[in-house]
């Protein structure tokens, strides 16, 4: 008995140390955004000796024509429709695959699963040309259009899996009551899909919010910059001088994902676990 308690204590100690070790960089980042430049290189601790707030104030104001208010608003304007349409398309596509029989269903479904493994790099150039020809460069359509069309099979698959878990009797009784297939979806099934809906929203929010590569490709005027691009501009301009500004704006960029995570972490874990996916 004693030995078991001891080994348990070792386990907890190890797990806690690992947690501290892993989260330390993030705590340090928050602390560093309140440090002066001199302290930045002399104090590896979390807490600043002489906290200053100009990292946030000056960082937010930025160095150019636009402040982080603009980049924040831009990011929201890009992320919200993308998340919304991803949800809408994944619900429809998931419902279609989970509940209906139609010609070529099997090969189409296999095709969709196969696209999960399609490397994005191999389609990025023609997509760029296509968006350019449509006049979509420097707009948010390269993000929104794919979400309307449900191109990310991950979400469709997640919804398929979820619908499959709901008893068919629900649909059948709704149809007996005279509901059409769309009413059945919206009135009967959708209210039961809350966990899946949360998962879709959370993941797509995070991926779009954190995305850097696509913003880099498709957006080129500072006026339309997202946070990721605004932050990169801040690094290029002031990394050699104002360390705390760059840290402060990095912290700001990470706040919405962190809040979302802690507000909805229950769904988070369930979502990943139900699909067995996510890279």
């Amino acid at each position: 008995m004693k030995r078991r308690t001891a080994s348990l204590a070792v386990k907890y100690l190890g797990l806690s140390l690992l947690a501290l070790f892993m989260l330390y960089p993030l705590f340090w980042m928050v602390g560093a955004s309140f440090k002066t430049n001199e302290e930045f290189f002399t104090n590896p601790g979390v807490f600043p000796l002489r906290p200053v707030f100009d990292g946030f104030a000056d960082g937010w104001r930025g160095s150019g024509q636009f402040t982080f208010t603009r980049f924040f608003a831009n990011t929201v304007a890009l992320v919200i429709p993308t998340v919304f349409f991803t949800l809408a398309s994944s619900v429809l596509v998931g419902y279609g695959f989970a509940r209906f029989d139609f010609p070529l269903k099997k090969p189409l479904f296999s095709m969709m699963i196969a696209t999960l493994m399609l490397p994005g790099t191999v389609v990025v150039i023609p997509r760029y040309i296509l968006f350019k020809n449509l006049g979509w460069l420097d707009t948010y359509w390269p993000f929104i259009a794919p979400s309307i069309l449900g191109v990310n099979a991950f979400f469709n698959f997640m919804m398929v899996q979820f619908f499959r878990g709901l008893p068919r009797e629900l649909d059948e009784s709704a149809i007996l009551d005279g509901c059409g297939s769309f009413t059945t979806l919206t009135r009967i099934l959708l209210p039961l899909c809350k966990p899946a809906i949360f998962s879709v929203v959370i993941f797509q929010f995070l991926w779009t919010w954190n995305d850097f590569f696509n913003s880099l490709l498709f957006i080129n005027s500072v006026k339309k910059y997202t946070l990721a691009l605004g932050l990169r501009m801040a690094i290029d301009i002031s990394a050699q001088v104002n360390w705390n500004q760059v840290m402060a704006m990095s912290v700001v960029t990470l706040i919405p994902p962190v809040i979302l995570f802690f507000a909805a972490q229950k769904y988070f874990v369930e979502g990943i676990a139900t699909t067995g996916l996510k890279g």
Partner: protein
């Protein structure tokens, strides 16, 4: 169900079908076609046959350099990440209290994904005079130049990936829950030790999930971009010049879209062959048992 038309389902999946055709299949065919041309965003485009591929394999020293460094990155980052995720989830699955709190804490880095903020943070952590070396100097170690030393920089960058082992961990934990406790009991009665139980029960039962993760992580790692782009810009001495950076340079800085398309197809072919090989090898080590 009988009264419904056979095509109702098609209507529901229509968004995806259009998206698949227009934004995946068509671009896939297109980039293959581009790869046989000297397409540059401006000027005329000529068919050049296999010239791009010939150039890539015989004349482009950057290709081999970049492919080599990318392979090193994949070989460091993916196994480390999965081993770590596996180890932690096995420790956590032992029915200890507070597992949720630990799981949450370990997951936090993963929610930041490829955020540029993390890349920035890494730069500050691992600079010559950065936090890591400040802490090392407290215990009397003079730390290396993590990002400036060509033999270390790639390793330092792969630490970002390893750090974000959260999603693999969650998947493994879910898989571990599926293993029937009776299997463990039987093994214990037979007198099997911990290591034996892990190798003979846990690993085989978990192998489909491990395999799936291995594939997806490898595919993603071959395309890694943000960390290397922001932290080291491919340097020093091109030691972190990952394939994604080379593609970006060729396609979107120099706009040699034909050549870049050929590069992307070369990568696609490599990934495809690796995936098929691992599916082939999986027959011997992945067990699709009742637990699925």
């Amino acid at each position: 169900m009988r009264s419904r038309s056979r095509y109702v389902g098609l209507v529901y999946i229509l968004p995806w079908l259009v998206g698949f055709l227009v934004l995946q299949l068509y671009p896939l065919v297109c980039s293959l076609a581009y790869s046989f041309t000297d397409f540059k965003l401006l000027g005329t485009t000529r068919w050049v046959g296999l010239k791009n591929y010939a150039d890539i394999f015989t004349r482009d020293p950057l290709f081999w350099k970049s492919l080599g460094r990318t392979t090193v990155y994949v070989v460091i980052a993916v196994p480390l990440k999965l081993a770590f995720a596996l180890f932690i989830s096995v420790v956590l699955s032992g029915n200890i209290k507070g597992i949720n709190a630990f799981r949450t804490m370990y997951y936090v880095p993963s929610i930041m994904g490829g955020s540029i903020a993390i890349a920035v943070l890494w730069r500050f952590l691992f600079m010559k005079e950065g936090v890591v070396n400040q802490i090392l100097s407290l215990v009397g170690i003079s730390g290396p130049n993590w990002l400036g030393d060509p033999s270390l920089a790639l390793f330092t960058i792969s630490l970002v990936t390893v750090w974000q082992f959260g999603s693999s961990m969650v998947l493994f934990l879910a898989g571990l829950k599926q293993i029937p406790p009776s299997l463990y009991e039987a093994a214990r009665i037979d007198g099997a030790g911990r290591a034996r139980i892990f190798l003979r029960i846990t690993m085989p039962m978990l192998s489909p999930i491990v395999f799936f993760n291995l594939i997806m992580q490898t595919i993603n790692a071959f395309q890694e971009f943000t960390a290397a782009f922001v932290i080291t810009q491919g340097g020093p001495l091109k030691s972190t010049y990952l394939y994604g950076l080379m593609l970006y340079d060729k396609g979107f800085r120099f706009f040699q879209m034909g050549y870049a398309s050929a590069l992307s197809w070369a990568l696609f072919a490599i990934i495809l062959v690796l995936t098929l090989l691992s599916f082939k090898s999986s027959e011997s080590w992945v067990h699709y048992g009742d637990a699925q």
